[in-house]
Symmetry: C2
Subunit: 252 residues, 2 copies
DNA sequence: CAGTGGTCTAGACCACAAG
DNA sequence: TTGTGGTCTAGACCACTGA
């Protein structure tokens, strides 16, 4: 007898599983609904738990599932469109800025950042820690590096409160005005501290957005390294119009 | 006796391994160098191969390693900065366009795209398949959807060659001029066909760039869905100046 | 406490590239 | 044919959540 399947491409088990479960999510599950636990699912599909997990990992990477230790696996809502650059997010600290300052210290930045800033390798700069919320969820953490030269009027910083220090630096920065910005997006994995802020485990996939802000004369006035949750975020650029992702379509 | 380690955070094995290997890559390996195979590495570190692999996966996700079946694991070159939008990549088909058309058919687009285009759910549109190379490597595959209404002068398309058809559509599109564009970036995993084009396995992490091109009157004239290799690419936006990533710093 | 997902093991076999 | 990374298994234990 021939195989009942046509001689198609050899498909791995977890890939096929991912497809099957993905289709089931579209047709049989609502957002927020809890899936059976991994052991049951694995048994139901007749595979080892590790294989089932490989499929779930893929679906989580694509933002279709959300897994939380001690709780379970739920159907994720569509990714939220998070505006990056443009509208209300141009110059750090401008009105409507989506970022919420959390702290400000003076530190020697990583060599990467120092090079972008054009500061010396052992020169301390202001480091603002900021976080960004959306619909009540943390979506991004970032570090904003501001060289002392960019905010010359801050002679004596003896403000005890970090948040206040942050606001002062931002205000100074805002007074400067700016000429443009530069942006790069790449895939990364959450460091331990970012992971904590983003309510994820270390190593979770994140979108790393590095922005250079140019002051007058083309000098780099500040550099921001933002870490967005890759599972829940879709970064949008230019244009204020929101548009819908595949998931939002499915949900409606 | 107390533990010789300070009571630090409990760190998983693979995470620690990732850190150790990552540091070794910085100090003891050159770009392109081949690492020992997974079985040897696992034995050397006294862990199961699966655990070792978990660490390597992280490093590959961060673009620091490249693994190829049947070949081995090599130290990856720094991610290449790939310009998206702006300079020479504005309107599809404009001079200096980095995309190379490969084919053109007429198909009914996925519902997601149809909605973005504002076409009917069962209306066929031109589908241009394009690919993008960089330094001799494929970095992205994309599908450009062009509604028939956007290129009205193509009454009878009986051109046999797909590439030629693609060029004709692009030329028509170019004659229209455009008013702006809209972009979104999110994490995805490579479909089987994209994976083949990008020389990766299915499910490989990719950066999904969805672009809406607006014609005169704010109408959506075309939609492009581009799939960039997340391991080798850093997407850059705005500003023609290239800047260096952490890895480029390490390499220099 | 019971139940979840996260980590880890020690094996096996498969698909692929290159000699 | 050999050696590589990729897949898969069946089990164990851990870390965390919430009742």
């Amino acid at each position: 007898m021939g195989t009942t399947q046509l001689e198609t491409a050899p498909e791995t088990k977890y890939w096929h599983l991912k497809t099957v479960i993905g289709e089931a999510l579209d047709s049989e599950f609502a957002v927020g609904e809890i899936l059976p636990n991994e052991r049951d699912l694995a048994a139901r599909f007749g595979v080892a738990r590790a294989t089932l997990r490989q499929a779930l990992e893929q679906l989580e990477l694509e933002g279709r599932l959300q897994r939380r230790r001690g709780v379970g696996t739920t159907v994720a809502p569509p990714r939220m469109g998070v505006a990056v650059g443009a509208a209300g997010n141009g110059w750090p600290g401008s009105s409507g800025d989506a970022w919420q300052p959390a702290d400000c210290t003076q530190e020697i930045p990583p060599a990467v950042v120092a090079e972008l800033l054009g500061t010396g390798a052992d020169e301390a700069v202001h480091v603002l820690r900021r976080s960004r919320m959306y619909s009540g969820q943390p979506v991004a953490a970032d570090l904003l590096y501001v060289p002392a030269a960019s905010v010359p009027d801050l002679s004596a910083i003896d403000i005890p409160d970090g948040v206040t220090r942050a606001r002062v630096v931002l205000r100074e920065l805002q007074l400067l005005g700016f000429e443009g910005e530069d942006r790069a997006v790449e895939l990364g994995s959450a460091r331990a501290d970012d992971a904590r802020q983003l309510d994820r485990l270390p190593g979770a996939p994140v979108l790393l957005v590095t922005t250079r802000y140019f002051g007058h004369g083309g000098r780099t006035a500040a550099v921001s390294v933002a870490t967005y949750r890759a599972d829940t975020c879709r970064l949008t650029f230019g244009g204020d119009v929101e548009f819908h992702s595949e998931q939002e379509r499915r949900a409606s």
